[in-house]
Amino acid sequence: MSANSNKQPETGGFFARDRAWHAPALTPEYKTSILRSPQRALLSLDGTISEITGPVFGHSMIGELDNDLIHNYARPGESAIGERIIVHGRVLDERGQPVRGALLEFWQANAGGRYRHKKETYLAAIDPNFGGCGRAITDDDGRYAFRTVKPGPYPWPNGVNDWRPAHIHFSVFGHGFAQRLITQMYFEGDPMIWKCPIVTTIPDRSAIEQLIAPLDWDQTIPMDARAYKFDIVLRGRRSTLFENRLEGN
C-alpha cells in the first residue's frame, strides 16, 4: 500500500477467467503448442487465500534507468539505435479500477528484430547499446511509462516463411497471484499482425485488438520520441460483503 492511500486491501475472489476470450492451450498453427498443451480439463477452483494473495513489489526496487531501454544497457554517452518511442498506459482491473503498485516487466528485440539471447541465431546485428529489458511499477492512478526503440519484426521457425510482427512482451503482477499475466503488445497499423500464428491463437478479433497500441500523437514529444498507448486490464475481484470469512474458523 502506498502511504497516501487510505484504501483497505481487497480480499474478494477474482472474477472467473473467460477462457473463450483467451487463446486455448492447443493452437496447432502455432506448432510448439501441440506438445505443450494439456489435454485434460483444468480443475476449477474459486480462489482461496493461496490465489487471492500475491507478492507486491516496492517502488524502491526500481532503478533510475529501469524504464529507459534506450540508455539502461548503453555505454556512457551512447544510446540504442532505432525509432525512439515512449510506451505508456494504465493498468486497470475489469471493474475499471486502477491497479496501483503493479510490477510490469517488458522485453523486446532491437530495431532490427534481433534479441540479445544466446539461443537467437537471426543474422540481423546485435546493437551494442541495447539490452532489451525494462520494468516499472504503476503509480496510484495505475500509470506506467517507459522509453525504448521500436522493435523490428523477425523471422521464426514455425511455417516456412513466418515473421513475427513488431511486438513488446509484457509481464504483469497485480495484487493476487491469480492475476498473473504475460502478454504481447503490437503496434497500430502493422499489416503483419493478422498473418501471425501466435496472434491468431486468440479466437476473437476484438480480443486481438485489445493488444494493439495506438499511436498517441498527443503524448508524442516534438523532436524527440513518438508515443504509443497500451492499457492493460487484469482480472477484477468481488467485494467481500457476503463472502465466507477467509480467516476460517
Binding site: 498443451s37 490465489e51 494473495t53 544497457y73 540479445r116 544466446k118 496472434v199 470469512r245 477467509l246
Partner: protein
C-alpha cells in the same frame, strides 16, 4: 434496457516465448548491469523462520522431452501459514520470507529449483485446513496462457488425504501428479504438460 455493468475484458494472454529470460531473468541470460540481480532468486535469509527445504522439478512435454526454456514461479505461505501480501488479513507474515520465487528451467538438466521453507497450513474458504502446498505457475514458448498447479508434500499424507482441493480430483490416480517426493530435505516433482502422466492444472 437494464443498467450497464461497465465491465472491461481482461487483456488476453500470449505466450512468453523462447526469450522470456531477457525480461524476467536478464542476468541468467548474460544481460548484466541493468538490474543488480534477478528477481525471485532469494526467498529466504538467515533470519527466516521454519524448516529449510529445496523444491525442484522438471517440466516435460507430450513427447517426454524436457522443456528447458520455461520459467517457473512459486507463491507460498510462511511457516505459520501466513502470506506476505497486503491482502493477508489474518496476521503479519514473517518479514524475512518473501513467499515468492522465480527460476528458469535449467538449459542442461531441465530443473527449476527453489531454496525455501516448508509452508504452514492455510484455511480453505470454508475454514477446513488445506494441506501444506506451494502454488506453481509456469510459462514457456508454446504455452499460450500460464499454467497454475500446486505442489504438495509426500510426507504430509494425513493432511493431503483431507485436503479440500485434492479431494475434488475425480480421477484419484491423478492426485499424485501434485505431490512432490521427499528425499532428505529435498522435494522433487516433475510436471507433465500432456499425456498419461499429465499434471492436474487449475483454473483459479
Amino acid at each position: 434496457m437494464v443498467q450497464e455493468l461497465h465491465r472491461l475484458k481482461e487483456t488476453p494472454s500470449q505466450t512468453a516465448g523462447p526469450y522470456v529470460h531477457i525480461g524476467l531473468t536478464p542476468n541468467y541470460c548474460d544481460i548484466r548491469g541493468v538490474y543488480d540481480g534477478d528477481l525471485g532468486t532469494a526467498m529466504v535469509n538467515d533470519q527466516t523462520l521454519g524448516e529449510r527445504i529445496t523444491v525442484r522439478g522438471r517440466i516435460l512435454d507430450g513427447a517426454d522431452t524436457l522443456v528447458r526454456d520455461a520459467i517457473a514461479e512459486i507463491w507460498q505461505a510462511d511457516s505459520a501459514g501466513l502470506y506476505n501480501s497486503p491482502s493477508e488479513m489474518r496476521g503479519t507474515a514473517d518479514p524475512n520470507f518473501t513467499g515468492w520465487g522465480r527460476c528458469p528451467t535449467n538449459a542442461e538438466d531441465g530443473y527449476f529449483q527453489f531454496e525455501t521453507i516448508k509452508p504452514g497450513k492455510v484455511p480453505f474458504k470454508d475454514g477446513r485446513p488445506m494441506a501444506p502446498h506451494i502454488t506453481l505457475w509456469i510459462v514457456a514458448r508454446g504455452i499460450n496462457i500460464g499454467l497454475h498447479t500446486r505442489i504438495y508434500f509426500s510426507d504430509e499424507a494425513e493432511a493431503n488425504a483431507v485436503d479440500p482441493l485434492l479431494l475434488r480430483i475425480e480421477h484419484r490416480q491423478r492426485v499424485e501428479t501434485m505431490v512432490a517426493q521427499k528425499d532428505g530435505s529435498t522435494y522433487t516433482l516433475d510436471i507433465h504438460l500432456q499425456g498419461p502422466k499429465e499434471t492436474v492444472f487449475l483454473d483459479i
